[in-house]
């Protein structure tokens, strides 16, 4: 177990280096970031929480990584303990969503390498996983929040490569969100709670999103440099 974990960390570091090079940050800055990563304690705040770090693309990627960790953990639980009466169609859909979220999580982990925040400990004690309505309600909240978070943080991304990848992920989150909404109320895939009168999806700031995410996290996530401390 430990061996495979270590192997995967090594792989992630290699991936990070080439990712940063791809992203145009270059070898020199990759070295700089690697140095910063040696002082990982700057991300740890009092009380066992963590911070997404200094302003910049790495912080935004860590923000996304935190949200994807949360979503992946949620759907893993949904499939591990299916609500009563889950149909095979529903199970197939939730399994696909789980697999997408796990891959998003793994992608950010690999891309961030040594700069990644640690694995977060979740707290889903407020969600009754035995009830369909509770699971769908929570799923809608996660997906809608995810879409608003990516849309709201896009302009903070400085690198075009990262921005495009965020765009590749957010549209998949929006596809999930529309499906989950329709499972709750048929035809509510773009309802007023998420889409404004201009036909624009609502967006949310980091300081708006993290408090919501933290209600499902034992490891509280802060973004001190984006005006939010848990």
């Amino acid at each position: 177990m430990k061996t495979s974990e270590q192997e995967s960390i090594g792989g992630a570091n290699m991936a990070r280096r080439s990712f940063l090079r791809y992203a145009g940050l270059g070898v020199a800055s990759a070295g700089l970031l690697a140095t910063a990563a040696c002082h990982k304690d700057h991300k740890v705040v009092v009380g066992g929480g963590i911070d997404i770090g200094a302003k910049g693309d790495l912080a935004i990627l860590n923000y996304a990584y935190a949200l994807e960790q949360l979503e992946a953990a949620f759907y893993i639980q949904v499939i591990t303990t299916p609500y009563s009466g889950m149909t095979s169609d529903e199970k197939a859909l939730f399994t696909s969503i789980r697999d997408h979220e796990v891959l998003h999580r793994e992608f950010f982990k690999a891309a961030l390498g040594g700069n990644a925040i640690p694995s977060l400990t979740v707290d889903f004690s407020t969600i009754d996983f035995t009830k369909k309505s509770a699971v769908l309600g929570a799923a809608k909240a996660f997906e809608d929040t995810g879409v608003k978070a990516y849309d709201g943080a896009g302009y903070l991304i400085q690198d075009a490569g990262y921005l495009t990848i965020a765009g590749k992920i957010v549209s998949v989150e929006a596809r999930h969100a529309a499906l989950i909404s329709n499972m709750l109320v048929a035809g509510s895939f773009a309802a007023d709670d998420q889409v404004d009168s201009n036909g624009l999806n609502k967006s949310a700031t980091i300081a708006e999103v993290l408090p919501i995410a933290n209600t499902y996290l034992k490891t509280k996530v802060s973004a001190t440099n984006y005006s939010y401390v848990a």
Partner: protein, 281 residues
């Protein structure tokens, strides 16, 4: 103004263009394989401007150019749904609220973009003409009868929505760091993805695009293969995401890898897919 003439004109100023553009040029020529025997339609002036920009070796498009491109795509979608909603007997009761929601959103996008273009100091382009059969103005294209055949209508709707998502995504880098316009564009992008998901549910196909290693298109509508080409990509940044762990093991399937990431299209790719078939003068 003829599309090939535009490219020829640009080539006079940029001799290397032909080499660099060969794949794209081939793609444009392939429009004729879309089912239309019509000669390449003349390109509206606004489209010509966009194409010049898209094909030129010059700087990225301006914010206003990006917005006018988006407006053109929204004209296409809003006109499509307006005509669908006005076609008696086309949309069954079960689909009416879905289609009306999408129609209203697209019309709101048109209004919003016009306002945004004006506020950005630009002039909104006027709408080009559309042939939703993809017949280049003949009304006789491969999707003939779509306004009396609900399934066919939904298939065209889905191609527009999925292509719209790709088109907006492709423009994000051109709006880098622009808080108001990028956020608005991403917000429309997300709504188009919501629409795509919903139309897919109406058609009974998966809400996300699940490609194979060789075919991006998962809709079964082969006429729009080009609209999905590239969705089969599994490399994000330098990471081949199929090499990353999944629930079931140390790697991830192509199906999951392609469904978890939607892929962008450039302005010239999108226009090549639409001009001469769905868009004409």
């Amino acid at each position: 103004m003829n599309l090939f003439n535009i490219i020829d004109e640009i080539e006079k100023f940029d001799p290397e263009l032909n080499d660099r553009l060969n794949p794209r040029r081939a793609a444009i020529k392939n429009i004729t394989s879309f089912g239309s025997k019509v000669a390449m339609a003349a390109v509206p002036f606004a489209m010509g401007t966009m194409l010049k920009r898209a094909y030129g070796a010059t700087a990225a498009p301006t914010v206003v150019e990006v917005l006018n491109y988006a407006l053109t795509l929204e004209y296409l979608e809003s006109s499509f749904y307006n005509q669908g909603a006005a076609s008696a007997g086309l949309i069954p009761a079960a689909g009416a609220s879905y289609i009306n929601t999408v129609k209203d959103d697209e019309n709101q996008h048109v209004a919003f973009l016009k306002t945004a273009i004006t506020a950005s100091g630009g002039t909104p382009v006027t709408s080009p003409k559309f042939d939703f059969t993809a017949g280049g103005g003949t009304g006789n294209g491969p999707f003939k009868g779509l306004f009396s055949n609900y399934t066919l209508f939904l298939k065209v709707a889905l191609a527009f929505e999925d292509t719209g998502v790709r088109a907006y995504k492709g423009q994000a880098p051109n709006l880098l760091g622009n808080k108001d316009i990028l956020t608005a564009a991403l917000s429309i992008h997300a709504v188009e993805a919501r629409h795509a998901s919903a139309i897919r549910q109406l058609l009974g196909v998966s809400p996300w695009i699940t490609s194979t290693a060789t075919l991006g298109n998962d809709t079964g509508v082969s006429q729009v293969n080009g609209n999905y080409d590239g969705e089969q990509n599994v490399t994000q940044g330098p990471v081949n995401v199929t090499t990353l762990p999944s629930i079931s093991g140390s790697t991830t399937s192509v199906a999951i890898a392609t469904a978890a990431f939607d892929e962008p299209l450039s302005m010239d790719q999108v226009l090549a897919l639409l001009v001469g078939t769905f868009i004409y003068t």
